[in-house]
């Protein structure tokens, strides 16, 4: 173990990069330190030590040449006034106080930048700069140079100013709390002994003031409930919002008649308080992960622009302008945006985002290349066959596009509310019919009282607070759900379907084995010094596998794409690569494992084998899930690993190999037709259709802010082994919901017994309604917190 890097805190290893007597893990980190130090921004390291961002070598380089295009610049800019431009960049790397500090001191790095502000939850920085001093491209490159790489995709161009939806809820809560507090003050005298001695003119005044104050609450703050109840009725569903709306109107009209007749305030305070609590519950439930996107489509993955070749000159064009027949140039680490044919160069296409498979696929001239792959190696020229919108991947995506909204209306709580509404109306009718035989005025009063007190406030608060707390408990453990409905969806699943590559196997890590004559230490050192020059995934894996060796400079080094590497180190020729390249023969027939052959000074030493390594805790996870759910595996790969998978998944599980993305989607559909409730766990674009088709889709991501296909939930790869516990926690949430229902039922029985006997007074309502609301909220949040700390043991390694 070496010292931690001054910039990013990564272990520097044995050969740190040293500058200014400080140790760095890589040149990238050192460069950032230099830039900051020269510009007197050293405080970056004081606010939060080792807060820097490490850029992995071999990660795709982002180029910002497209930011010179006027069309794209105009779309990105928030506003422009002469030379002053304001732009917002999404920077996923923002993670701490130091980031805020540095990004808000950008003006010291360049005089053209006048102002910058960070929005932390959205991971955005808004920069105001002078166009004539620093171009947008230079600005993006400046940010990238200090490792805050802006992410600019097609999606960011298309949707720009969509938010604000959240603000109206805030305003509604504000209005409700204002009215609630004031009305409570006016109601207070009525609850005190001798309250009825209050002078008549004050009774009038308080009544009318309350009436005026309640109007915005009833007609503005509560408006969402009426809309939702009405929508439910149109779909012939009695949602929970219907009894709430009935209760609100019953309270409002009854209290209004009390005010008009000059008898006092009625239940205005209870009404305002009720709505205040309901809205708070809505807000608590609705708080989501702003920086995460659950509805990404191909646009958030594709680049904004690409280099087009025409008459020997290169122009950068937005990818939407690509037409069939265009020639495009794809450089190292650039993405193929449309289905195309390779015209010139040697293609080595990394489809890891699409399939999860880490090894690049070799392509020769004339080969067809699907969109979505990333070129690894030298530049290639392609001829576009289909426009971006018509490409295979895009089509695949659009097929899966219809996400089911219907389910959320048909959930548990609405099921209960149907019976609840029916029962309340029945009680109200029966009770008032009884009283009608005694006295008609009492009958009307009883009818209103039943509707008032039976308002399902406790019932309506249970779900937001239980699921809202569950969602937060999940989030703290690296499991981010799209909204709180997903808790219920998880509860309902009967079948779990896994994708293989990238989901249960690790993307960037492979198990390496050596088969052949034993290698001496010297030979290992020589091989290590050859492979460290290549960025091919197998070379990287091999470098990781070989024991750390002293660095030697090869006298000659050459990498032959698709074949291997040859070098002379210490006077010895080392060949590393494919069997054909190293031994000159072609014997191996199995395609199931990757092999790298080695020869040292003409001696055939043997070969390394590479196989997928599985995520930690996979066997225990499967073991746990097996007990309750039927398990399936659908993989796009061949069946080479069937035996291994069978050992893990057991005999009952059905394993399927060689499945295309469309097959996966069909498979999910068939399971659903059989009446199964399917949970799909996938990672790449090839799972997008299946994830959208499934009842619940979870996407596993190494970095939750980077790309993941549209889904219901994103699971941090580090928390993969906890998945079974997380799913079973949804059952605990339901247990809490059921218990809260019982509590709220008890309150309702008490309240109704007052109401039907015609003894409900504003005082009883004023005590019972807030008491039931608050106790339900407390019960739901506290019990979820308690169960979460017991059942989901917090792991320190997870943020």
């Amino acid at each position: 173990m070496g010292k931690p890097c001054v910039h990013c805190g990564t272990d520097c290893g044995k050969n740190p990069v040293v500058w200014d007597e400080k140790e760095f893990c890589c040149h990238g980190c050192k460069t950032v330190y230099q830039i900051l130090n020269e510009n007197r921004l050293g405080a970056y390291y004081e606010i939060q030590p080792m807060s820097g961002i490490r850029i992995e070598t071999g990660q795709p380089l982002r180029k910002f040449a497209f930011l010179d295009l006027d069309e794209i610049k105009d779309k990105l800019a928030d506003f422009r006034d002469g030379n002053t431009v304001r732009v917002r960049f999404f920077i996923p790397a923002i993670h701490c106080a130091s980031c805020i500090w540095l990004l808000e001191h950008l003006d010291t790095l360049h005089p053209g930048i006048s102002h910058s502000t960070v929005n932390f939850p959205q991971k955005e920085v808004a920069v105001t700069f002078r166009d004539d001093q620093i171009s947008m491209r230079q600005l993006a490159e400046l940010l990238a140079s200090i490792h805050y790489v802006p992410e600019i995709t097609l999606e960011h161009l298309d949707r720009k100013k969509i938010r604000k939806a959240d603000k109206s809820l805030m305003l509604k809560i504000g209005v409700a709390s204002f009215s609630f507090m004031n009305i409570m003050m006016y109601s207070f005298p009525e609850y005190l002994p001798g309250g009825d001695l209050l002078e008549q003119k004050f009774k009038h005044l308080f009544g009318w003031l309350s009436f005026i104050l309640i109007l915005p609450v009833v007609f503005y703050s509560a408006s969402d409930y009426y809309v939702s109840a009405f929508k439910g009725l149109k779909h012939k569903i009695i949602s929970i919002d219907l009894p709430i709306s009935i209760g609100i109107f019953a309270l409002f009209f009854y209290s209004s008649t009390v005010v008009f007749s000059g008898q006092g305030i009625g239940y205005m305070d209870s009404l305002a308080g009720l709505l205040f609590f309901l809205l708070i519950g809505k807000w608590y439930q609705g708080k989501t992960y702003e920086a995460l996107s659950f509805e990404r489509d191909y646009r958030s993955y594709f680049p904004v622009a690409v280099t087009r070749l025409s008459d020997q000159c290169e122009t950068i064009v937005p990818i939407r302008e690509l037409k069939k027949g265009d020639r495009i140039l794809i450089r190292n680490q650039e993405l193929v945006p449309a289905d195309a044919v390779l015209v010139k160069g040697y293609g080595s296409i990394d489809y890891s985002f699409v399939t999860g498979e880490a090894l690049p696929v070799a392509k020769n001239q004339g080969d067809f290349i699907y969109a979505g792959g990333r070129q690894v190696g030298s530049s290639i020229e392609l001829q576009v066959e289909k426009a971006v919108e018509q490409s295979y991947l895009t089509q695949l995506w659009n097929q899966g596009g219809t996400k089911k909204d219907k389910l959320s209306l048909n959930n548990h709580i609405n099921f209960v509310s149907q019976y609840f509404t029916a029962a309340v109306l029945l009680i109200a009718v029966v009770a008032s019919a009884y009283w009608a035989t005694v006295q008609l005025s009492v009958a009307i009063y009883v009818f209103a009282s039943v509707l008032i007190i039976a308002c399902p406030c406790a019932l309506a608060l249970t779900v937001p607070f239980t699921f809202g707390s569950t969602m937060r408990a999940f989030g703290r453990r690296g499991f981010y759900i799209r909204n709180s409905d997903v808790v219920e969806k998880l509860y309902r699943i009967t079948t779990v379907v896994f994708d293989k590559t990238g989901t249960i196997t690790l993307n960037r890590k492979m198990d390496v084995d050596f088969i052949g004559d034993s290698l001496g230490i010297e030979e290992i050192t020589l091989i290590a010094n050859v492979v460290r020059h290549s960025s091919h995934p197998l070379s990287v894996a091999l470098k990781e596998f070989l024991p750390h060796a002293s660095e030697l400079m090869p006298e000659r080094y050459e990498e032959l794409p698709g074949l291997g590497q040859t070098a002379i180190v210490n006077g010895k020729r080392i060949n590393v690569g494919s069997e054909m390249f190293v031994t000159g023969q072609h014997t191996s027939t199995t395609m199931n494992e990757s092999r790298v052959y080695v020869s040292v000074d003409g001696r055939q030493a043997g070969y390394f084998t590479f196989s997928n390594s599985y995520r930690q805790g996979l066997p225990t996870l499967i073991e746990g899930l097996k007990k309750r759910y039927s398990l399936h595996l659908i993989s796009g790969d061949n069946d080479g690993e069937e035996k291994k998978m069978r050992a893990i998944f057991g005999d009952e599980a059905s394993l399927h190999f060689n499945q295309s993305p469309a097959d996966k989607k069909q498979y999910i559909l068939r399971l659903k037709e059989k009446g199964e409730n399917v949970l799909m766990i996938g990672d790449g674009l090839n799972d997008a259709g299946a994830l959208a088709e499934s009842n619940t889709g979870i996407s596993v991501a190494e970095d939750v802010f980077s790309f993941s296909p549209a889904c219901d939930a994103i699971l941090e790869a580090a928390s993969f082994d906890k998945l079974e516990k997380l799913i079973s926690f949804s059952r605990t949430s339901f247990k809490v919901v059921r218990r809260s229902f019982i509590i709220s039922l008890i309150y309702n029985v008490i309240g109704l017994s007052f109401a039907v006997s015609g003894k409900l007074s504003p005082l009883i309502a004023a005590i019972l309604m807030p008491l039931s609301s608050i106790s339900i909220v407390a019960f739901a949040t506290l019990s979820i917190g308690w169960f979460a700390s017991r059942q989901l043991k917090k792991d320190e390694s997870v943020r």
Binding site: E21, N37, R40, L41, G42, A43, I47, A97, I100, W101, E104, H105, T108, V118, N119, F120, P121, Q122, K167, M170, L171, G174, V175, F178, M181, N182, M185, E199, F202, L205, L209
Partner: protein, 62 residues
Amino acid sequence: MEAILFLIIIGVIVAGGFLVAFIWAVRSGQYDDDYSPSVRMLFDNKIRSKDENEISESNNNN
């Protein structure tokens, strides 16, 4: 009793003032980001000059 009337009017006006302030705060985006302002207020406005930086660094090294 006129005092109560007076107080009530003042009470509504003051509370209404706060409501207006709240609406303004929400509209102007002060609730959009509930983390960075808490950090931002602790930052020094002044960027230290190079000499000071070196002095503090040599102190750190000792």
